[in-house]
């Protein structure tokens, strides 16, 4: 028993999970109904039964390197069938958030997106940053008719976003490295790079959402948000690079293909976010199991899309009173979204991809259905009295 794991509950971790959406964590009595009904749980990597136990016992370090928490797509099938009302999907959500905090860079930023105070601070910070490059240089007045390029001078706005972008990328990179290290520490050996492509294909096609029991509506909501973001990212990069090289002159005319595409993306983003908000709100269990972080992320997403469209509409209507305010709010939201990316639910786009890639090999290997050697997480217990443990 020398290699047996010494268990010492991490009370801070337990508190964190319970305070977040895992409030019913301790109700779990390990019947494993959750693992049986989960469409994504496999024999190689069953969840969320064991994750519930590990969270109950405060085994934060083990969960940090557990790809299963990312394989969960939070559909709520387990929560709907849990006989004790322990809400496993909400607990998994809370575990993910706790992990995001633990691998955050810099660490003190970890909880900025999971509580109201942090979120407000981040928004104020964004607003001040934007004001500092817009209002301060102009001495507090604007030229009329208003030109965005003059309100937030491109020469300042764009470099600011580059700096923020580099910071976010760095934070994500460090978080990713920490995650990979944790995965390796718990014995997940799959090579990540070669598995990235198939994992990305699966993610793009939303295959996993298709098998969740919560219905297709959520899949469509996520697919819309996902596509819109992808489109906006591509478009934004194209416009940014184009205007830098002098190939594109902003603002683009309304019928410019890129403009049409961008507007479409914004619309899709707003619709997708609205669907996700509705799904979360309409399901009583899901609503009850939602934390501040869930709402924060969704509202921010929807807000960016919605204010983007509104900005354009107001500009076209030449409503000078509202143009500045709404554009400013839009920019604030975009900046807040950027800054909170590594610390909010948003980070799952990267961490889930990495975890899925790392676990890709084992899910494809012929050993599926048996315990994978070397993985203490998946070694099935031996001995009498314990039926097949899922």
């Amino acid at each position: 028993m020398a290699d047996a794991l010494m268990v010492q509950p991490d009370h801070a971790f337990i508190r964190e999970v319970i305070r977040d959406s895992g409030g019913e964590l301790k109700k779990c009595f390990q019947c494993a109904t959750c693992s049986s009904v989960c469409a994504h749980s496999t024999e190689v990597r069953p969840f969320p039964r064991k994750q519930m136990l590990e969270a109950q016992w405060g085994m934060g370090n083990r969960l940090l390197g557990d790809p299963a928490i990312w394989l969960c797509h939070d559909c709520g099938d387990c929560t709907a069938r849990c006989p004790r009302g322990a809400r496993p999907s909400a607990v998994m959500d809370a575990i993910r958030l706790a992990v995001i905090k633990r691998i955050a860079f810099p660490r003190f930023m970890g909880s900025v997106a999971s509580n109201l105070g942090g979120a407000v601070l981040l928004f104020i910070f964004s607003a001040l940053l934007l004001l500092s490059i817009a209002v301060l240089p102009l001495g507090g007045s604007f030229a009329r008719p208003l030109i965005y390029g003059e309100m937030f001078p491109k020469a300042r706005l764009e470099p600011m976003f580059y700096v923020v972008g580099v910071y976010v990328a760095m934070a994500l990179l460090v978080g990713m490295m920490r995650l990979v290290r944790a995965l390796r520490a718990t014995g997940v050996q799959g090579a990540i790079l070669p598995a990235l492509l198939p994992a990305l294909i699966e993610i793009t096609l939303h295959r996993r959402f298709a098998s969740c029991g919560s219905g297709q509506i959520r899949r469509w909501g996520h697919l819309l948000v996902f596509s819109a973001f992808l489109g906006l990212a591509v478009m934004g990069t194209a416009v940014g690079v184009g205007s830098m090289l002098g190939l594109i002159d902003t603002p683009l005319p309304m019928l410019h293909p890129l403009k049409v595409f961008a507007n479409l993306c914004a619309l899709v983003l707003a619709v997708g976010a609205a669907i996700l908000v509705w799904v979360r709100w309409a399901d009583q269990e899901k609503r009850a199991g939602s934390s501040f972080g869930d709402w924060y992320f969704l509202v921010l997403l929807g807000g960016v899309g919605f204010t983007g469209i509104l900005t354009e509409a107001v500009r076209m209507g030449q409503n000078l009173d509202w143009m500045f305010t709404i554009y400013f709010i839009h920019l604030c939201l975009v900046l807040t979204l950027f800054l909170s990316t590594p610390y909010s639910k948003f980070a799952h786009f990267l961490y889930r991809t990495i975890a899925m890639a790392a676990a890709w090999q084992e899910s494809q290997s012929p050993a599926r259905g048996q315990a994978v050697a070397g993985g203490p997480d998946v070694a099935l217990p031996e001995g009498p009295g314990l039926p097949h443990v899922i």
Binding site: M1, D3, A4, L5, M6, V7, Q8, P9, H11, I14, R15, I18, K26, K27, F29, Q30, R49, K50, L53, E54, Q56, W57, R84, P376, D377, V378, A379, L380, P381, E382, G383, G385, L386, V389
Partner: protein, 750 residues
């Protein structure tokens, strides 16, 4: 008594369609010369009953043979009180409903049954019920929660109760506890212990006499007239009581017997020890007195383990939860780990489990604690295997608590008796080998020395016999509270592991049985399972050879011996099974309505046709408790079987005297089948080992058969449960086929 026989044949319930009732009446009138023989289309109807009552009232009839339905049916209807002799002949279930209607064989069978009934009735005598003076006082042994409740229930029901407790005060184990399991909604908090109120009530009750610091040193006599000698600091005194409730409770399973490595470490305690520690301030580590910041509970420490206690002790999960609550009250930050096999918290107690489980610093996991070891820091590490974590884990705690289970505070009568006999053998020192054997027995059983509780003055040993796991049962499922000694009922944790709430209910059950027992004794009636039976065995002692078989085989210790070995019968201890009657080689034991002679007369009444081919004759002795009802049930479902079998019901297969088999075979009957209850560890016999004894006697019968040059296959014993009626036709038909293969009984026609 001058017998005036009347035969009443019913033709209702399709008996008339199946049989020629008039020809049957001829059997009674012509063959048996019965003076009164009546038939009726509905004997159990008002008209039929009125006719029978009129015959009784006029004095034309005082002995009735009622040939109608099974004796198990319409018992109230055909109950004519203690006066007349009544014998029932089963024409409905076992003839009309189970054989070919209007068939010659069926008719012959009915004729045989009627002759058998008449033959028995001719030999039956009126009952003379027991009428001795009966004490209605109940003795309760043990003043814990069970004993206190039993005493209160008995006293409230109007019976005088003597409550005996060996400790200086009442209360038992429960009395030592601060808190008990939750008792009221929402069942999420331990309740304050309110046993003190009950103790006050029992001490103040005018019908209860409480004896503390007192032990039972002798129990003589029989139900209704037990003479119990109590001893305490003031001396001894003898009280007469009618029945006894044994409520001696439990003891914790000994930690030293556990096979868990490390369980002897100083910072490992049992749950009972923890209760004591918690009763006096914060719980500290015994080794250094440091208050415990983390406590690990090992559930099922001995329980549900075939090597220790094979049963679930039923309270350990709950007491662990309760102790967790108490520990947290002392120290809100304490870490509590519970390593369980299954958390067993039935009924409302589940709410308690959930409420305790919900605390972030209570940690539960299913797993097996393989060993305990001491860490250099002073903590104890539990090595846990088979856990739901999927890999071995180690957990360190300041204190480890073994949730040890409940062992009954019972005395193993048979072990004590064996030990005593071994000591006598050593004293006598007759042969070297015997002495060596006896010394081995003494070494093995010497820890039983002095464990007697009731000190019964019974030939069969000083206390209650125990069955599995040391519980003094008679039959746990069918006869709760019954022990193997009539008039003595077990209640509470001595009977089965249970918590205080259940023990209080159990106390009521056992006390009601004890009251029933004295009331039946007052009427001279038998208790369960032949409840209400007024008959009892009579011993023709002038012919007794002192072989002691009856005194040894009586399952209830009803028969003592004098110095010469002559049986001394205690009728109130008797359950009227007749096992003594089956055992007696001299056939000196008989009931007024059930004897070796009567059954032999019935066997002789069977007409055995000389031609074998179509008409072999098979006899079935069927136990009245299970096999006979199964046969009836087979008839009710109209399951046809061979008409060459005749069934004679016996009170218990153990009452079967082998002479009947010899009689039957010598009369030319081709085969004999014995239908009894299942025997062995999970026996279903209502009299504990009747069918087993019959099986043993059968071995001797087989020797006799060989001497007579008869095939041993002609006699067979089958074990039949009451619900196995669907097996009946096949069992019988297969046996008949085997007997046909053997050919006719060579003694036919002699």
């Amino acid at each position: 008594m001058d017998k005036k026989l009347g035969v009443y044949i019913c033709s209702g319930c399709s008996i008339g369609e199946s049989l020629d009732v008039d020809r049957l009446a001829e059997v009674a009138k012509k063959d048996c010369k019965v003076p009164v023989c009546r038939t009726h289309a509905c004997l159990c109807g008002d008209e039929g009953i009125a006719q029978m009552r009129a015959d009784l009232a006029e004095g034309t009839v005082n002995t009735m043979v009622i040939a109608a339905c099974s004796p198990r049916a319409k018992m109230e209807c055909f109950n004519f009180g203690a006066g007349p002799i009544v014998e029932r002949v089963n024409l409905r279930e076992q003839v009309a409903w189970s054989h070919q209607p209007k068939d010659e064989d069926t008719q012959m069978l009915a004729g045989d049954y009627l002759r058998m009934g008449i033959a028995k009735a001719e030999k039956m005598e009126p009952l003379e019920p027991l009428t001795e003076a009966i004490s209605r006082t109940v003795l309760v042994v043990g003043g814990g929660v069970t004993g206190i409740h039993a005493a209160l229930d008995g006293a409230d029901a109007g019976y005088d109760v003597l409550l005996v407790e060996k400790e200086a005060q009442l209360g038992g184990f429960l009395g030592s506890l601060k808190k008990t399991f939750p008792t009221r909604a929402p069942y999420t908090k331990a309740a304050d212990n309110d046993l003190a109120k009950k103790i006050g009530a029992v001490c103040a009750h005018p019908r209860v006499r409480v004896f503390c610091s007192t032990q039972v040193v002798r129990t003589e006599g029989q139900p209704g007239m037990f003479d119990v000698t109590l001893q305490n600091g003031h001396g001894t005194e003898t009280h007469r009581v009618g029945s006894i409730v044994l409520a001696t409770g439990w003891k914790p399973y000994e930690r030293a017997r556990l096979a868990l490595p490390g369980c002897e470490l100083p910072d490992v305690v049992t749950n009972v020890e923890l209760e004591r520690m918690a009763a006096s301030g914060p719980v500290r580590r015994p080794s250094d007195g440091v208050p415990a910041k983390s406590v690990l509970f090992v559930q099922c420490a001995g329980s549900r383990d075939p090597a220790h206690l094979s049963y679930c002790s039923s309270v350990c999960c709950m007491s662990t939860l309760k102790e967790a609550e108490i520990l947290r009250e002392e120290n809100p930050a304490i870490e509590i780990f519970v390593i369980y096999r299954d958390m067993i918290t039935p009924g409302q107690y589940e709410a308690y489990y959930q409420s305790l489980q919900n605390h972030p610093r209570n940690f539960f996991v299913k797993g097996t604690v393989k060993s305990l070891e001491r860490e250099t820091s002073g903590k104890v590490i539990a090595n846990i295997d088979d856990s739901l974590f999927g890999s071995p884990i180690r957990v360190a705690a300041d204190l480890v608590v073994l949730a040890t289970g409940m062992a009954p505070n019972s005395a193993d009568n048979d072990a004590i008796r064996t030990l005593r006999e071994a000591r006598r053998t050593v004293e006598r020192n007759e042969s070297e080998t015997q002495r060596v054997e006896a010394e081995k027995v003494i070494a093995q059983l010497q820890d039983r020395e002095g464990t007697e509780i009731l000190h019964l003055g019974y030939r069969q040993g000083p206390d209650l016999p125990v069955l599995q796991n040391g519980f003094p049962d008679s039959h746990f499922v069918c006869f709760p509270y019954e022990t193997q000694r009539t008039g003595i009922y077990a209640a509470g944790a001595v009977r089965a592991p249970m918590d205080a709430a259940l023990a209080a209910e159990d106390a009521s059950g056992a006390m009601m049985k004890a009251i029933q027992s004295v009331e039946m004794a007052v009427n001279g009636q038998a208790v369960h399972p032949r409840a209400g039976d007024l008959s009892y065995p009579n011993f023709a002692l002038q012919r007794c050879t002192q072989c002691k078989r009856c005194t040894v085989e009586c399952p209830f210790g009803a028969i003592d011996e004098d110095e010469k070995g002559t049986p001394r019968f205690n009728p109130y201890r008797c359950r009227r099974c007749g096992i003594c009657m089956g055992a007696c080689p001299e056939r000196i034991i008989s009931f007024k309505n059930y004897s070796v002679d009567m059954i032999a007369g019935m066997v002789k009444a069977i007409e055995v046709p000389d031609e074998f081919e179509d008409k072999p004759r098979i006899l079935i002795f069927a136990c009245e408790n299970d096999a006979y009802p199964a046969l009836d049930q087979a008839g009710m479902s109209h399951a046809a079987y061979d008409a060459s079998v005749c069934v004679i019901p016996l009170r218990c297969l153990g009452s079967m005297n082998v002479v009947w088999i010899a009689d039957a075979l010598s009369r030319g009957i081709d085969g004999v089948m014995l239908m009894g209850c299942k025997f062995g560890d999970d026996y279903q016999c209502h009299f504990i080992r009747g069918s087993e004894l019959a099986n043993r006697r059968l071995e001797n019968v087989k020797d006799t058969l060989q001497r007579l040059q008869l095939e041993s296959g002609r006699v067979e014993l089958v074990q039949l449960a009451i619900n196995e009626y669907d097996r009946v036709p096949q069992l019988i038909d297969n046996f008949v086929a085997r007997v046909r293969e053997l050919g006719p009984n060579p003694y036919k026609g002699f």
